[in-house]
Symmetry: C2
Subunit: 336 residues, 2 copies
DNA sequence: GATTTATGGTATCAATGAAGGATATTGCGA
DNA sequence: TCGCAATATCCTTCATTGATACCATAAATC
């Protein structure tokens, strides 16, 4: 590991001069600077991030915090897609990412402590339970924070347009002639509430009311729960002609159950998912879904967080809405 | 941020003493130690990882390097599962993880340089192209390295038992009475070669030969390619009765194509996948597959890498084989 | 008096930043 | 045109960041 000291010796100058040359300070001669830069390059120098961090309090590390009900972590398709684009965008700006855990060398700690221990410059939080005490502590701290799919005052958030998405989906289903539309939604969260209210308001904008029994709950990504609720809907006196699911995975669970009952999905019965998960494209029939723009969510998140870190004064605290798009599959039949 | 200096002042001792107390040195009085630990705790002290790293050359950070043909990154199901369990196991041992990129503050660098810049204690490499020059540089370096699914001399590797897995799968298919078995395999790699040779040797152990045209290639996770190859197989004079796919995703692509042709999968025609991906469980029929033990792979990887870091002398350089299990779905029909 | 035990002092890790000093350059009046 | 001060340029020295390691030293024990 070649350090500034080595370069200083090689160039016959002091370490401070080397530091200035490499960090584009003004009070240094052009010739010396060029020479130092050239020699540093030849010697294969690159900075020591720990030393730099110690002195400057900047690590160029972004913390990522994610936790869902099922504790699926990185295997959570939707989050993985966001994280991937977040990572790519962050790296482009010179930031690496690391996960925020709840322990420091085997000792239990809070997320905030972990962040301070590692000296992350900022944190991205994507979480189901934003009211967890440790999450709250982080939200209330002076650390730059950005949240996904949940809004806090005084915090920047990137939110998928659940209201618009659900409206588009509902209107699509209505346009196909459906009136008896059931909605199996996820467990309570701000996302669920947004979709649910958008669902009802879109229906009533079209003067449509649905029976109470058409609204049911199944946890996100819980295939069995989705299948059970599908059963329940089918056994109603007046079963729905179309079922909306919490997500594409659940939708697939529903499809299987429907098919097992001898129904042809996309003909006898219609279904739709949410997310735009890869599985939506490879099922048969393809699932009609709202593709959440995870690329944009992750990218926006990274850029905005970095902006906040580098320009804390001028960065506007706002809620950024990312629109999704309706992906038409063949799972919703046209009826009359 | 409370530092050792603050604790030293509060306790009326020197920083050196505080350091000793908190790091369980022997040459310190029990009383002073307990008092220092108590006060440090009360003051909410935790170490500064940058400062510690600077002095000790240990960051308790593990680097993760993953790159696949399609550049899917974290959205790669199989890798995401491994990474998740790797992460959990690493955290349990007090290590955080970070991704190894190929740039340092916007400047292009090699993976090795990035690792040195961040001072990671070790690196986990899961990769398609192990012969990339930058990967090679890393492999040849003095950094603790562990590789997944690829063996290098002098390097520890954790390898999924592709030979055993493929044998089990082939034997299962044979036991169901199939003789005309086709294999659409992934692009060339050590994994592909292991599975392929195991496939053939299992067949010949049972005295079975298959036409050359039964062996076909489709990139991993490439649904369209899998569908195309499925078509090609069906249009043969003697089509196979069972088709093995590179992975479960591809298998689903195949299933859709077969169904589109009016074939009943699991009855008229049989298929099997590989991986034990979540989608294998939620398709209809459920896909018979070899579930790779990603939990064990990730966990073993983390533990072994940490062992190598902490006990470089006594750690045995070995190839650790992780067995998978046959998950029987309903996609392989019994024929006579 | 030798040895053990407990504690402090100081250098060090690699980098940054503030302050200062040695030249060179410029300004401006005589 | 010269002389002297003022200024600019370029670089160095020294302190600092938080923690650890080595050596020194004082007190206690045998």
């Amino acid at each position: 590991m070649v350090s500034m000291k080595d370069i200083a010796r090689e160039c016959g100058v002091s370490v401070a001069t080397v530091s200035k040359a490499l960090n584009h300070y003004s009070d240094i001669g052009k010739e010396t600077r060029d020479r130092i830069i050239r020699i540093a390059d030849e010697m294969g120098y690159f900075p020591n991030s720990s030393a730099r961090a110690l002195k400057t309090k900047r690590t160029y590390h972004l913390g990522v915090l994610f936790m869902d009900e099922a504790n699926s972590g990185l295997t959570h398709h939707f989050f993985a897609r966001i994280l991937e684009s977040f990572k790519v965008a962050a790296e482009k700006e010179g930031y690496d990412i690391t996960f925020v855990g709840s322990s420091i060398s085997k000792r239990k700690t809070s997320y905030l402590e972990h962040c301070r221990y590692r000296g992350v410059d900022g944190v991205m939080i994507a979480n189901i339970d934003f009211y967890d005490a440790h999450i709250q502590e982080l939200i209330m701290s002076d650390l730059p924070v950005i949240t996904i799919d949940h809004v806090f005052d005084n915090r920047i958030s990137v939110v998928s347009d659940n209201v618009g998405g659900m409206r588009a989906l509902t209107e699509y289903v209505l346009s196909k002639g459906h009136r008896r539309i059931a909605y199996i939604h996820g467990l309570d969260s701000s996302v669920t509430r947004a979709r649910l209210s958008s669902f009802y308001s879109t229906l009533s904008a079209h003067g449509i009311r649905i029976p109470e029994a058409y609204e049911r709950t199944a946890a996100y990504l819980d295939v069995n729960a989705a299948a059970e609720q599908t059963d329940a809907l089918l056994s109603l006196e007046q079963p729905p002609t179309c079922i909306l699911y919490p997500d594409d995975i659940c939708c697939l669970g529903g499809i299987n159950r429907l098919r097992a009952k001898g129904l042809r999905v996309g003909e006898d019965i219609s279904v739709a998912g949410y997310d735009g998960d890869m599985v939506a494209h490879i099922t048969d029939p393809q699932i009609t879904t709202i593709a959440q723009d995870t690329t944009s969510i992750g990218q926006t998140c990274a850029r905005k967080l970095i902006d906040l870190i580098e320009n804390p004064k001028s960065t506007i605290i706002e809620q950024i809405l990312i629109r999704g798009t309706l992906e038409e599959g063949a799972s919703v039949a046209a009826i009359d």
